[in-house]
């Protein structure tokens, strides 16, 4: 062989490495880290996820942190509101994490990703993990702010309530994915944000369900946020976790998760 013809070069290019498929369908830590960083770069996200719950907490609980909700023996207002706001923050954070797929579908980024080895399931898993990381940050921010405002609780309540608020918010990560595949809109969160506020109000995050009117109490039990709210506050209130809360949470995880899966499969089906 005297000169390298394009064909010979092409053959060499083909042979130069044994081409493999990436493990885990392309799921990896760098991808996840860049996704989280990108979310935190968005000013609107920052405000809704972190500033808004903190301000609400300061307004509602600030002046009466150590007062009791319902006379002596009942939980103090500060921790109660703080945990509710942590749930609210996690709810918004997880939803917005899941709803990122709406923006990415609208921009055509999901189509760009289909030119890579990233498997659709690995993409959704990354979105879910991103949503959960954002939710964790929201819970931690709220708890740090609460502590700075003077909220005091036994250590195990911090841990248990925090974990419940965070992990329970998986309902909303699923909700975000569901909406993300439903609305291919770049600004999906503008629709979802107010909706989350309404859900939080009727689900008992902004005022205890027990202080609501009778019909509102019944409505509250059907809200997607009711279950996670009750679970997160239960270490504080010492109320036994009722079956309604558990059923509520599981049912909504199934509904949103299944809905997201159906829409996801419709979206990624090759025609």
């Amino acid at each position: 062989m005297t000169t390298a013809t394009p064909k010979a070069v092409a053959a060499a290019l083909a042979a130069q490495h044994e081409r493999r498929v990436p493990p885990l369908g392309g799921l990896n830590a760098t991808f996840l880290r860049l996704e989280v960083r990108r979310s935190l770069r968005n000013r609107r996200t920052l405000i809704f996820l972190f500033v808004f719950p903190v301000v609400l907490f300061a307004l509602i609980a600030g002046p009466q942190i150590n007062k009791h909700i319902d006379g002596p023996g009942s939980p103090s207002i500060g921790p109660y509101i703080m945990i509710s706001m942590a749930v609210y923050g996690a709810m918004v954070a997880c939803t917005s994490g899941g709803a990122m797929v709406a923006t990415e579908r609208a921009l055509g980024w999901s189509r760009q990703l289909r030119l890579t080895p990233l498997r659709p399931a690995a993409y959704v898993a990354t979105k879910l993990l991103t949503a959960m990381v954002l939710g964790l940050i929201a819970v931690l921010v709220m708890m740090v702010v609460g502590a700075l405002f003077g909220v005091r609780m036994p250590a195990h309540i911090w841990v248990l309530s925090g974990l419940a608020a965070w992990l329970g918010a998986i309902v909303f990560a699923a909700f975000g994915l569901f909406v993300g595949y439903l609305l291919p809109a770049e600004n999906a969160m503008q629709f979802i944000g107010p909706l989350l506020g309404i859900m939080a109000f009727f689900g008992g995050l902004f005022q205890p369900v027990s202080t609501m009117g009778h019909s509102l109490q019944i409505i509250a039990k059907f809200m997607p946020v009711y279950g996670v709210g009750v679970l997160a506050r239960s270490p504080l209130t010492h109320e036994s976790v009722d079956a309604v809360a558990i059923v509520n949470m599981l049912a909504w995880v199934v509904v949103f998760g299944f809905g997201a899966m159906l829409l996801f499969r419709r979206d990624t089906k090759r025609v």
């Binding site: 092409a10 290019l13 493990p23 770069r41 921009l107 289909r114 030119l115 090759r270």
Partner: protein
């Protein structure tokens, strides 16, 4: 099967092997029984007007859609498998970018998705966007974003690069720079196939041109062949009862067509044909017209089923 399939290369693998592929969208047949082979190392232009089926074909080559009939293989693999191994990469019209990532972050993120990837700095350099690595994608011009897509396509060091209308929306200078980068890259032996409706791009950058119309390949040849075929002239005259055999026998005549009292002779020596017609026959109203690549393109790709004055090309389908 309407198009002859060249024999596979010595290693037995064609870069692109499309056999009898049909793709329908409801009542519309976007790609109609297409057969096309591309050898490793070729630079092929896929040329046709909008709606000819270029993007549909490209989508099937990338596993984004599935044919209703026929098979598509990229280096012997199903397109989805070739994509998963980074053997084929593409710059698509429709592929979106995230506005809130920087250029370098976009490349880094994408690089994590491949089992093997070239270094981020290297592909930025080769796509000519090293200086804007820290710029947010949302602040980049259309041309810069297209170079970013090209950088992303370079990451896996693909064997086949597919470009779908890569320069649409770019200014003249942007187009020239973009093609310089592609051409430089192709010299390393990569197989390149690009879809375009710009004739000059096909002419300047491809070794081979595949003309497509209404989902069918209407001409397929080297750029030189197509230019040679298109560079003839036609002589048109009014001549009842023309002796087509005698006209065909003239030197340099490619084709003789009779339409009623009109005869059209196509060939390289239009002067000779004109001299013969005017001196040896009773021809009158003689006209000589020139063809160029543009005429060939228009004739072959216009939507009429039997385009007037179509130039017969070798390796022509249908």
């Amino acid at each position: 099967m309407t198009n002859p399939t060249p024999p596979p290369g010595p290693d037995g693998l064609l870069a692109v092997d499309i056999r009898g592929v049909t793709k329908r969208f409801g009542p519309v047949t976007a790609v109609d029984d297409m057969t096309l082979s591309i050898e490793p190392g070729e630079i092929v232009a896929f040329l046709g007007p909008n709606g000819a089926g270029k993007t549909t074909t490209v989508d099937m080559m990338l596993g984004l859609s599935r044919p209703n009939a026929g098979i598509v293989r990229i280096y012997g693999r199903r397109p989805v498998d070739a994509v998963a191994r980074g053997e084929v990469a593409a710059v698509m019209q429709t592929g979106g970018l995230l506005k809130d990532l920087t250029v370098a972050e976009t490349v880094r993120l994408t690089s994590t998705l491949f089992a093997h990837s070239r270094p981020v700095d290297e592909v930025l350099e080769r796509a000519g966007i090293s200086e804007i690595g820290n710029r947010l994608v949302g602040k980049c011009s259309g041309g810069q974003q297209q170079r970013l897509r090209f950088a992303l396509a370079l990451l896996s060091d693909p064997l086949l690069m597919v470009l779908d209308e890569p320069t649409s929306g770019m200014d003249v200078e942007g187009r020239r720079d973009f093609w310089a980068a592609i051409r430089e890259d192709a010299e390393r032996g990569r197989t390149v196939m690009f879809a375009t409706h710009y004739l000059d791009e096909a002419d300047s950058y491809a070794d081979r041109i595949v003309l497509i119309r209404s989902g069918r390949i209407v001409a397929d040849g080297t750029t030189a062949e197509i230019k040679a075929m298109a560079s003839g002239r036609s002589v048109r005259a009014t001549l009842p009862d023309a002796d087509t055999a005698a006209l065909s026998a003239l030197s340099g005549v490619d084709d003789v067509e009779v339409r009623g009292d009109t005869v059209i002779v196509r060939g390289k020596d239009s002067d000779g044909v004109a001299r013969y017609l005017l001196t040896q026959t009773r021809a009158r109203d003689l006209e000589i017209t020139t063809h160029n690549l543009e005429d060939a393109f228009l004739a072959l790709t216009s939507d009429d089923e039997a385009p007037a004055g179509a130039i017969p090309l070798e390796r022509t389908a249908s």
